[in-house]
């Protein structure tokens, strides 16, 4: 129970928890104390002096800063005395003294705290007759942030954000006294991945958004509360639109998800929404060319061809690929369409059925968060296996840094690269790629030793394992494994997260089993979570976009689910398990004759798949852009983005959140994904009759019992989590079982290939924002400098990276975070599909040729 303190502010009594700052206590009873440097999510510095009020103390009523003084019992605060008013006026006069007052051309004008405070508390008259100081204006401190040093009032919020949250103080004060200015070190732009948040918290127009610059005035925009769909975090944000265009994205508070921070990709990389390359009309292939067509022509053709193929080859010759970038509603209807109207379970998405996932996600993001005012995170040790939050989920990265620095948490990291989070000196197990099972078994072995356990089931599983062998196989020192085991053994409430990088293919199944053993042994199986990387990775699984699972994670032969769905859909369900994403693409042109691809681009992923797709009898692609895959289609159906349709997304902690329609292009014929499918159904003589997306949301709450009650209205602005405890059938049956390290072909020469997601990749959602083009990863292979030297290649040199599956032309870049003997080629690099070197199993070697 927090201790409460009662004090008097302007003759009003207020009771607040001990430790509350006077400024916040005053706000609680509606008394506004003007502030600039103070920020509810940053430590106080008390440098702007705007909040000076009279506070009682040992020396009577004295002027003190309300932003830095904590409340005390029987304290008396006066915020409206003549002295306070006079000081407020004088302080604003000081702040405005050298402020350029170029409000008419300032992006902040209209939503500027300095303007507001000047109106409310300012002197109204300047006594300055000297020339104003001049400093740099329009000055890029990164590719996305413009600094105006003249407008800056030196509140230090940006500096503090980068220090306290990002732990990357790349902005600092330079010069001193009246000349003081905020700046970067010469030649070292800000590259923190959530740097854009400093724009949101800047109380003046000193830091502005380069991407949104001069695109609107704040009083002209419409504001829509929404969420981000760039990764699985589901950060809350606000979309600002004007004249049917997305003008700006800013962070929105959700203390369960993202505090109020969003990453730079979510904030800046949104040019694709309004991009001229967007598809605006259905296309149908005529005489070998894709040509504009009407919706009825296009949908009619899709229906005819699919029905013809079904008749000729059977329902299982048709497959559908959905997308974890799209909403629950779209994906739900896609699988309903396939199951009900085609009659097949050939339904999947990338990293869907091919991945050894777990259905229940992260227990709660709030349990790893350390907000400015709040308890320490509930998880004291966090084990990351094969995920790099800095590149994959920057806001999770932010939470983890904060949990370590301010919340006493420790990170244990298993990753083939020395990822950024390893800088916190937690145990770091840099296992050779593909040896994760051996490592995790070794870790369990070390853990049983740490607990002096010689009898449990877990001990039996790993009794024969020797750390020295694990050390040899994985390339991780036994000492480090022991250190990690000791950390885990001492954990009160450990959290284990693993990602698709280690969960794919056959090896992934073994990794999952090894992790289950570990989680069971730690006594927290519910704290083991698979983390998908896309915005709706969780939602796709929840709504049944899997070849072997019905909505709500029900097995295909689950009688309750079958009964429920056949009643709801008015059909019997196909019972044979479908093909996975990889299986469908591998079989394209073979067993699979037709594919319906919605929001996925497998042709760019792997050259072999691109060839296979050409062999299909019929290909429908529902897309925003004419992607490599869409270009091969017989019919292209233009969808709209997440910002242009209502939809819900389920993030990595099972939080279902609304993304309402924020804008629409009146000149485009493109339609919401759910609506396209709803219309297509009518061509199969089915009348689904969804009046809007909300109706689909409502249907999901019936079809997937885990979503019971999660209607559009109920979700509200902050979303709701579904509770696995209430749906115990969802939770997998976790048991101890041996986890077998897959055989590694020792004979292969060359470097082991490591891939994985990077934030600034070559995908459409990023590359179309021109301002960010310099930030993107190039078509590079990254090597440890020592390997580079051994191979005799230099940085910047073009090389051919080759193995039995294919070859890629790439430039060499040296990177000390890459382990010796490893070549790192991220996914989705522009013009460099690393899939060319893969055949599904994650463990391959490559040769670097000059």
């Amino acid at each position: 129970m927090t201790e409460l303190v009662t004090l008097t502010i302007d003759d009003r009594q207020v009771t607040v928890p001990k430790g509350t700052l006077v400024v916040d206590a005053a706000a609680k009873v509606g008394i506004e104390i003007p502030i600039f440097c103070s920020h509810p999510k940053l430590d106080p510095v008390a440098c702007c002096r705007m909040c000076l009020v009279e506070i009682s103390g040992p020396r009577g009523m004295t002027l003190q800063t309300a932003c830095s003084v904590p409340v005390a019992q029987d304290m008396v605060v006066r915020t409206n005395t003549p002295q306070v008013k006079e000081v407020q006026e004088a302080n604003l006069a000081f702040i405005l003294l050298n402020h350029p007052l170029d409000c008419p051309i300032c992006d902040k004008g209209g939503e500027c705290p300095l303007q507001d405070q000047t109106m409310r508390f300012g002197p109204g008259l300047s006594q300055l007759v000297e020339p104003k100081r001049t400093k740099n204006k329009n000055y890029l401190i990164s590719d996305t942030i413009v600094l105006d040093q003249e407008r800056c009032i030196l509140c230090w919020r940006c500096i503090r954000y980068l220090e306290e949250w990002e732990d990357k103080p790349q902005l600092a004060l330079f010069q001193r006294g009246g000349e003081t200015l905020i700046d970067i070190q010469d030649g070292k732009p800000v590259d923190a991945k959530t740097s854009g948040n400093i724009i949101d918290i800047c109380p003046v127009g000193a830091l502005t958004n380069r991407v949104a610059r001069f695109a609107f005035r704040p009083w002209e925009i419409e504001r829509t509360p929404s969420i981000c769909t760039q990764c699985s975090m589901g950060c809350n944000l606000r979309i600002d639109t004007r004249t049917h265009k997305l003008r700006r994205v800013i962070g929105r508070e959700n203390m369960q998800v993202n505090d109020q921070w969003i990453c730079d990709k979510g904030r800046f990389a949104n040019a694709w929404v309004n991009h001229e390359e967007r598809l605006t009309t259905p296309l149908v292939r005529k005489n070998g060319e894709l040509q504009p067509a009407s919706w009825s022509e296009a949908l009619g053709l899709v229906a005819d061809r699919l029905q013809a193929i079904k008749q000729r080859h059977g329902a299982d010759a048709i497959g559908a690929i959905g997308s974890a970038k799209l909403s629950n509603e779209s994906n739900y209807l896609l699988q309903r369409f396939m199951r009900q109207l085609i009659g097949t379970n050939n339904i999947d998405h990338r990293d869907g059925g091919d991945v050894a996932a777990l259905p229940t996600g992260v227990p709660a993001l709030a349990d790893v968060m350390k907000p400015q005012y709040g308890p320490d995170p509930k998880h004291d040790v966090i084990l990351l296996v094969g995920i790099d939050p800095s590149e994959e989920m920057p806001v999770l990265d932010l939470h983890l840094k904060r949990a370590v620095r301010r919340g006493k948490a420790t990170l244990v990291i298993v990753h083939p690269r020395r990822i950024e989070l390893t800088r916190y000196n937690g145990p770091f197990l840099q296992a050779n790629p593909g040896t994760e099972v051996a490592l995790l078994n070794g870790l369990l072995r070390a853990l049983t030793e740490a607990k002096e356990d010689t009898s449990s089931d877990a001990h039996q599983l790993v009794a024969n394992i020797k750390l020295q062998e694990a050390e040899k196989v994985c390339g991780v020192a036994a000492e480090e494994i022991n250190k990690a085991a000791a950390t885990l053994a001492g954990a009160q409430n450990p959290l284990i997260l693993y990602g698709p990088m280690v969960a794919r293919g056959e090896a992934g199944v073994q990794v999952r089993q090894a992790l289950i053993n570990l989680a069971l042994y730690l006594g927290k199986p519910e704290n083991l979570a698979y983390v998908g990387l896309e915005a709706n990775s969780q939602g796709c699984r929840d709504v049944g976009l899997l070849p072997d699972r019905l909505p709500g994670h029900a097995a295909l032969d689950d009688p309750t689910a079958n009964e429920l769905l056949s009643r709801l859909w008015g059909c019997t369900l196909p019972t044979r398990a479908g093909k996975t994403y990889k299986q469908m693409l591998d079989a394209a042109g073979g067993d699979i004759k037709a594919l319906y691809i919605m929001g996925a681009n497998p042709a760019s992923e792997r050259p072999t798949w691109a060839e296979q797709l050409d062999k299909l009898e019929f290909l429908v692609v529902q897309e925003l852009f004419l992607t490599e895959t869409a270009a091969k289609a017989d019919v292209v159906l233009p969808g709209v983005s997440w910002a242009e349709q209502d939809g819900t997304f389920t993030n990595l902690e099972r939080r279902v959140q609304r993304a309402p329609k924020a804008l629409g292009n009146p000149h485009s014929k493109a339609a919401p994904d759910w609506m396209i499918l709803d219309h297509l159904a009518t061509y199969f003589d089915a009348q689904w009759g969804h009046a809007n997306a909300q109706a689909v949301t409502a249907e999901i709450t019936q079809a997937a019992p885990i979503y019971n009650g999660l209607t559009w209205e109920a979700l509200g602005d902050q979303g709701l989590q579904w509770n696995p405890a209430e749906h115990s059938y969802v939770r997998p049956d976790m048991r101890y079982a041996p986890a077998v390290q897959p055989e590694l072909s020792e004979s292969e020469s060359g470097l082991r290939l490591v891939t994985g997601t990077v934030l600034y990749d070559g995908g459409d959602l990023f590359r179309l924002t021109k301002q960010m083009k310099n930030m993107a990863f190039g078509a590079e292979v990254r090597l440890n400098p020592a390997d580079g030297e051994k191979l005799g290649v230099t940085e910047g040199e073009s090389v051919t990276v080759r193995n039995t599956y294919g070859a890629l032309e790439l430039t060499v870049k040296f990177d000390a975070t890459v382990k010796l003997g490893v070549a790192w080629i991220p996914e989705s690099l522009p013009g460099a599909p690393v899939g060319a070197l893969l055949n599904g199993s994650a463990i391959v070697n490559v040769l670097i040729e000059k």
């Binding site: 000297e130 104003k132 329009n138 030196l154 103080p169 790349q170 600092a172 006294g177 970067i184 021109k770």
Partner: protein
């Protein structure tokens, strides 16, 4: 790589001096190494240093920019800096600067074409009794030497000749024209010291080898420390110091023993000696460190023992290079004798002293700013509470005491409380080193008991006005920060209470006499120039207010004043004092406030004479938004154009041209 292996090793040695995990503290010493190596701090070297210290490059850049002794562009081989602050100004610093400009053929702020000399003006260098003076920095070694009492053009010529002859740095001890008539570079010895007999704090100054440990030991030195460490408990030392009533000599006059008793129990404790003597008109700590460093070290041993600190820092201002070398040598001597290091005097007590050089920032004299600086950051003050005694250096309980305060501890422990209290008054016990500067005949240091009348100091010791025809007009009693006393207040006794009753504060006991030939407008303007220059920039009132006041005073000085400016000059300080983050704001305007209150007529007369029509200032119709106005904006590139306008968009197409 820009930093060579040897430079890196040298930096690593500095890093090892600081407690584990606190290597950032080595940032200033490391930058000194870099500056000696390259003549300035190149950005690339800064970035490499950042890597060594595990910092972001911007953090190093921010530090370099804060400290004025660190340069981002190369200076000449010999960097001549003329002190032009008020005490020097009163004795002809302007003249001295002009002589240098003429002789070197450059304006201040410039470097000679042969890259030999750079000339700059400088804030107070702690040489007020020997004004006018310059400090010269030798680029290739980073060494600094003071050249003092440069009254004439000939004196200035001698300095330049000496530098050109290559003998200027044969020693680092101060140089005067009188002390070295043959121009061999010979040292001048200590400056004028006097006062009561016998003297204690300055007793050895002037003796041969006064800085050597043998001299100190011969006087009974270190005996007190030995006795106290072997026979007394730390708590008893604290009690004795408390009973003595020593008050802090840095300026605020807070009782030293009481400060010690606030120390939080959490270990470790640190002792930090504030040797950042930068208050204009103050030059007492300098002489203790230069000519009697062992007195200070013994005080440190006693104080550290009392507060149970095993690591003590002396934060010395960067300009005091000679004092720094003397301290380093003295510590080595003491270590050799077993007075410092492990198990000192055969007891279980350990003590290590690290001498840490500042780099030119007045604000670092404020105790929390000093700690921030010592930790390797820009010298910004910190929020109090927590006070340093609870959370100080590296977040640990820390005591920060002035050099003279620590030196007093030695004498209190040696002679006892009663003896100490026999000097001065009940509330201001003990003796004081008064720093007398400005327009007196014999400026210098005078060790006298508290409560000596100001008149006695000025006339008996200072010899009266510098020029008989110019009587005293005003006196600053406690360093430039303190309020000015007028000539009718000369009978004020110099103790804390009496000076306060007279409307000022005893401060650091830097007494600056101003005669009636001086313009109070110029005094005010130069005072504000100093505070504008030295404001750390953290809080709004001080950062903006000092600049604004200086601008107004400069305009008045240059003949553009209006009578209503005086009202503004009265009004602005009201919103700086007591409103700023740290006491610097008070210090910055007290002088002006008292000056204007007492000598307003002189300001009015000045304005009436220089701007009789009260011509208003000419200011631009609109502020100049950009220094490069007219040139294309740097942000004007094609990437800023908004793409894909809808054809039906009725707004004028948005063309981004930058502002």
């Amino acid at each position: 790589m820009m930093l060579s292996e040897s430079v890196r090793n040298e930096i690593k040695k500095w890093m090892d001096l600081y407690p584990a995990g606190r290597q950032r503290s080595a940032i200033l010493p490391a930058l000194y190494v870099i500056q000696r190596e390259f003549g300035y701090c190149p950005v690339e070297a800064q970035n490499e240093l950042a890597e060594m210290l595990e910092l972001e490059p911007a953090e190093v850049g921010a530090v370099v920019d804060f400290y004025h002794m660190l340069h981002t562009e190369p200076k000449g081989e010999y960097h001549v800096e003329v002190c032009t602050n008020v005490p020097c100004m009163l004795r002809g610093a302007g003249q001295c600067m002009r002589h240098f400009e003429e002789k070197l053929g450059i304006h201040h702020g410039e470097t000679t074409p042969d890259d030999r000399f750079s000339l700059d003006h400088m804030e107070c260098l702690g040489s007020c009794g020997t004004a006018p003076m310059v400090s010269i920095t030798e680029r290739k070694t980073g060494r600094i030497r003071y050249f003092e009492e440069l009254d004439s053009a000939e004196d200035v010529q001698k300095v330049i000749d000496l530098v050109n002859s290559g003998k200027a740095f044969t020693t680092l001890e101060r140089w005067t024209p009188e002390g070295d008539p043959k121009l061999t570079g010979k040292a001048a010895g200590p400056y004028r010291v006097g006062g009561m007999e016998p003297r204690f704090l300055t007793a050895r100054v002037g003796k041969k080898d006064s800085h050597k440990i043998e001299t100190y030991i011969a006087d009974g030195g270190y005996e007190t420390a030995r006795r106290v460490l072997t026979t007394m408990k730390p708590e008893e030392v604290v009690e004795q110091v408390k009973a003595s009533g020593i008050r802090g000599r840095g300026g605020a006059g807070f009782p030293t023993g009481m400060k010690w008793s606030f120390l939080a129990p959490a270990m470790p404790h640190y002792l930090v000696v504030n040797a950042d003597e930068s208050e204009p008109g103050t030059f007492k700590d300098r002489i203790i460190m230069e000519y009697d460093p062992h007195q200070l070290i013994e005080g440190i041993i006693l104080s550290a023992y009392a507060i149970k600190a095993e690591l003590a820092f002396i934060y010395i201002r960067g300009e005091y290079y000679f004092a720094y070398t003397r301290l380093v040598d003295a510590i080595k001597e003491a270590q050799k004798k077993g007075f410092l290091g492990e198990k000192i005097f055969g007891t279980d007590v350990n003590l290590r002293i690290v001498v840490h050089r500042g780099a030119g920032a007045y604000e670092c004299g404020e105790e929390t700013a000093l700690l921030t600086s010592l930790e390797g950051y820009r010298g910004h003050p910190r929020m109090k509470p927590p006070f340093p005694a609870v959370e100080g250096l590296y977040g640990k309980p820390t005591i920060v005491n002035n050099v003279e305060s620590i030196a007093n501890v030695t004498h209190v422990m040696r002679h006892g409380v009663e003896w100490y209290r026999s000097f001065g008054t009940e509330k201001s016990p003990g003796m004081r080193i008064f720093c007398l500067s400005g327009n007196v005949k014999y400026p210098g240091l005078y060790e006298l008991p508290h409560a000596v009348p100001l008149r006695e100091l000025l006339y008996k010791y200072g010899g009266g006005p510098q020029f008989d025809e110019h009587p005293f007009k005003a006196v600053v009693p406690g360093g430039l920060s303190m309020k000015i006393l007028s000539a009718d207040q000369l009978d004020t006794p110099l103790d804390y209470e009496s000076v306060q009753a007279a409307g000022s504060m005893l401060g650091s006991a830097g007494v600056i006499a101003i005669d009636d030939s001086q313009s109070m407008v110029k005094v005010a303007r130069r005072t504000l120039s100093f505070y504008r220059e030295e404001s750390c920039g953290k809080c709004t009132p001080c950062r903006e207010g000092t600049g604004w006041l200086e601008d107004i005073l400069l305009r008045i000085e240059n003949g553009g004043g209006r009578m209503k400016d005086l009202d503004l000059l009265e009004r602005i300080p009201k919103f700086i004092t007591g409103k700023s983050f740290c006491p610097f704001g008070d210090a910055a305007v007290w002088g002006l406030q008292s000056n204007l209150a007492k000598y307003r007529a002189e300001f009015e007369q000045y304005i009436a004479m220089t701007n009789p029509e009260e011509e208003p200032p000419v200011i631009p119709i609109r502020p100049i938004y950009r220094p490069d106005v007219g040139a294309p904006s740097v942000a004007h590139d094609s990437a800023l154009e908004i793409e894909g306008e809808s054809p039906l968009n009725r707004d004028t197409p948005i063309l981004v041209t930058g502002d």
